[in-house]
């Protein structure tokens, strides 16, 4: 009698675990679909589906994807870092600093390639510094990257001349037209280079995560650092490398933003770290690391962009912060319900 009971209980538990894993696999796509649906039925009275001004009109979709470029570029690398159980709060400031440096170089007569390469190398340097603080000096990631957040932001503000709010063309100097070719000029399907680069980055990082030892090692370090080190993984080197990768893509995202706005705004990357955390959590990466997926983070990133852009058309701008905060808290709760369970079991 009792064995039958436990047997049926076990079956029930198995089934609920199955259901949960199926929900976990697909809920994020459902959430994205629901959000898109919600914004597409809004304002239908003012114009038909797919027409000008509608959420799903080609113009609107292109605009949405163009504004999604920075987070798409950055969130993949951020996922890898979080899978390894580390965090980088300085990505927003690294973006701003890169945007400022890129705009400064363009304004001062450097051509595209040198400015592009130097900015990316600087990004690697910023990541290198973060990695050094975390792995070599062993400062807690949150504190170390909060310190560099402040430092990078300070540097970006210092590069911008006094009295100006950003690096931009003025009386003496003219910002060359070509600065916005990278993130604005259409190359394919109405979308600019920056977007296709972001797509390439996502594909590359997905492959890196799934097919190479980089992804496996990151997960191993996040799952159990001691076990990973004992089985011969050089955790210090791996984590350091991940910080450099994040710095690199933060710079790439920063110069896409600078190119999009045709100026170097030292505050343009503010709160990017929060957007990245939201995207990663929505994508089902565990807080403590050990598991996660780059491709799902991308869906999470699209959700944030849809909410940000979609809400702009329906409610006043001062609702933005509350909206984003709610998405973050919702992501935390969903993540708790669906991901953390596995740890306990």
């Amino acid at each position: 009698m009792s064995t039958v009971k436990t047997e049926s209980l076990r079956l029930q538990l198995d089934r609920s675990a199955n259901v949960r894993s199926i929900i976990k696999q697909f809920y994020i796509f459902v959430v994205l679909a629901l959000i898109v649906l919600a914004f597409s039925v809004m304002k239908l009275d003012q114009g038909g589906m797919f027409e000008r001004g509608h959420f799903l009109s080609p113009d609107s979709i292109i605009n949405l994807l163009r504004s999604a470029v920075p987070i798409l570029t950055l969130s993949g690398a951020f996922t890898l870092l979080m899978i390894s159980g580390h965090i980088d709060l300085s990505v927003g400031s690294a973006m701003s600093l890169s945007a400022v440096v890129y705009a400064w170089m363009v304004l001062n007569g450097y051509s595209f390639l040198p400015a592009f390469v130097v900015t990316l190398i600087m990004g690697c340097g910023l990541g290198f510094l973060n990695g050094y603080l975390v792995t070599k000096l062993r400062i807690t990631p949150v504190i170390a990257t909060l310190v560099t957040l402040s430092a990078f932001k300070g540097l970006a503000l210092l590069i911008v001349p006094d009295g100006l709010s950003a690096i931009k063309g003025g009386a003496g100097q003219v910002m060359p037209d070509w600065i916005n070719y990278y993130a604005r000029r259409e190359v394919l399907l109405g979308l600019p280079w920056a977007f296709w680069v972001a797509v390439f980055v996502i594909l590359l990082l997905t492959i890196l995560q799934r097919k190479t030892i980089l992804g496996k090692y990151a997960a191993a370090i996040g799952g159990n650092r001691l076990a990973a080190e004992l089985s011969g993984i050089n955790a210090v080197k791996m984590v350091w490398l991940l910080y450099i990768i994040v710095g690199f893509f933060a710079a790439l995202a920063g110069l896409a933003r600078a190119s999009y706005m045709s100026l170097g705004d030292p505050l343009s990357g503010d709160n990017m770290e929060l957007d990245c955390i939201i995207a990663v959590l929505l994508g089902g990466t565990a807080f403590s690391g050990g598991e996660g997926s780059v491709s799902k983070t991308v869906v999470g990133a699209l959700i944030i962009i849809c909410v940000t852009i979609g809400l702009m058309t329906v409610i006043p701008a001062y609702w933005q912060t509350v909206a984003k905060g709610s998405v973050l808290v919702t992501a935390v709760v969903l993540n708790h319900l669906l991901v953390q369970d596995k740890v306990k079991a």
Partner: protein
């Protein structure tokens, strides 16, 4: 042989007459003296009585926040929601006591409550933000840095919604500005500074003399051991986050009263400053270590550095870089000092 080993083990304990905590506080006090001496030599008009008083009185808000943040940090958690909480409480205290239907402008109309009721309710909301933090951290076991960043956005966002992204400063009762303008005549010591000093003393007594505080240290040093020895960790975390929210609320109300306005962008980045002064004062990042007095010393160090930078006519943009460098050096110096002492 055995006896020898025991003796050897006990030796460091017998040598150290003061605890590591007092050692770090004294160490940072030494650094404060050095930094102050350098600033006095380099910066003109720095070594004056008025300026020294200002170093303490101009930073009352960060120090009040620092008390809550220090206790939370001792348990090994972060509270990044304090800045948003200040903005929310300030705005609410204005909104609750603005007159009803006094103007066409939506920003001039409030709920028309008496001022004491208004600040009471605003403080309750501030504690509510702390309670939400505690719920996620103690019940759902979510990392505190992520949750409190979320509640920071929610609190500041709510302040922005109530003020429509700007500020509320009209149709306020006369009582509103009283708290912020009270003070000892002829000096820069205002009521807020006295509140800060009282809170520091109370916090110091709690920290040194109560079981409550000793248990907080245990939770920070080893949460699992604390739980196994019968401490209800969740309850303590809840109490601390609500306390931190309350302190942010008090700061928010005093600031709103001082400026006679509820501004939604008030206290941007204060959460970072509060964390920085706690770290400067030797509160350990990994929990279980630190003191309120150390935090106070840290606050004065930061204040000396920033006001010296202003005195040398550096552009205000320097503050971010300076704070980063000072924090980084402080973390390294403290670790170096503790390592030296132990070896």
């Amino acid at each position: 042989m055995e006896l020898k080993e025991v003796k050897h083990l006990r030796k460091p304990l017998m040598v150290s007459k003061i605890s590591d905590e007092s050692f770090i506080t004294l160490f940072m006090l030494g650094i404060l003296v050095i930094v102050f001496a350098i600033a006095s030599v380099i910066v003109p008009n720095f070594y004056t009585a008025q300026n020294m008083l200002n170093l303490v009185t101009n930073n009352w808000f960060v120090i009040i926040l620092g008390i809550g943040v220090t206790f939370v940090l001792i348990t090994g958690n972060y509270d990044m929601s304090v800045g948003g909480n200040i903005a929310l409480t300030g705005v609410l205290s204005v909104y609750f006591c603005q007159g009803v239907n006094v103007s066409q402008n939506a920003l001039a109309n409030g709920l028309g409550l008496p001022y004491p009721v208004a600040i009471g309710l605003a403080l309750l909301c501030a504690m509510g933000v702390g309670a939400v933090n505690a719920f996620f951290i103690a019940k759902l076991k979510v990392p505190s840095i992520i949750v409190t960043l979320g509640t920071m956005m929610l609190a500041r966002g709510a302040a922005q919604v109530i003020t429509q992204g700007a500020q509320r400063n009209t149709s306020l009762p006369d009582a509103f500005g009283v708290l912020g303008s009270l003070g000892i005549p002829g000096t820069s010591i205002r009521l807020a500074v006295l509140v800060m000093i009282t809170l520091i003393i109370v916090a110091y007594i709690i920290e040194k003399k109560t079981v409550f505080a000793r248990r907080i240290y245990l939770i920070g040093a080893n949460p699992e051991a604390a739980r196994l020895s019968g401490i209800n960790v969740g309850k303590y975390l809840t109490a601390l986050y609500i306390l931190s929210g309350l302190l942010a609320g008090i700061t928010g109300i005093l600031l709103a009263s001082e400026f006679k306005a509820g501004v939604s962008s008030r206290a941007m980045g204060y959460e970072f400053d509060a964390l920085v002064i706690a770290l400067l004062g030797g509160v350990s990042i990994t929990g279980g270590f630190g003191s309120v007095l150390g935090m106070f010393v840290g606050a004065i160090i930061l204040s000396v550095v920033t006001s010296a930078a202003t005195g040398m006519l550096l552009s205000p943009d320097w503050q971010f870089t300076l704070k980063a460098i000072v924090t980084f050096l402080a973390i390294l110096a403290q670790r170096f000092a503790l390592d030296k002492r132990k070896s």
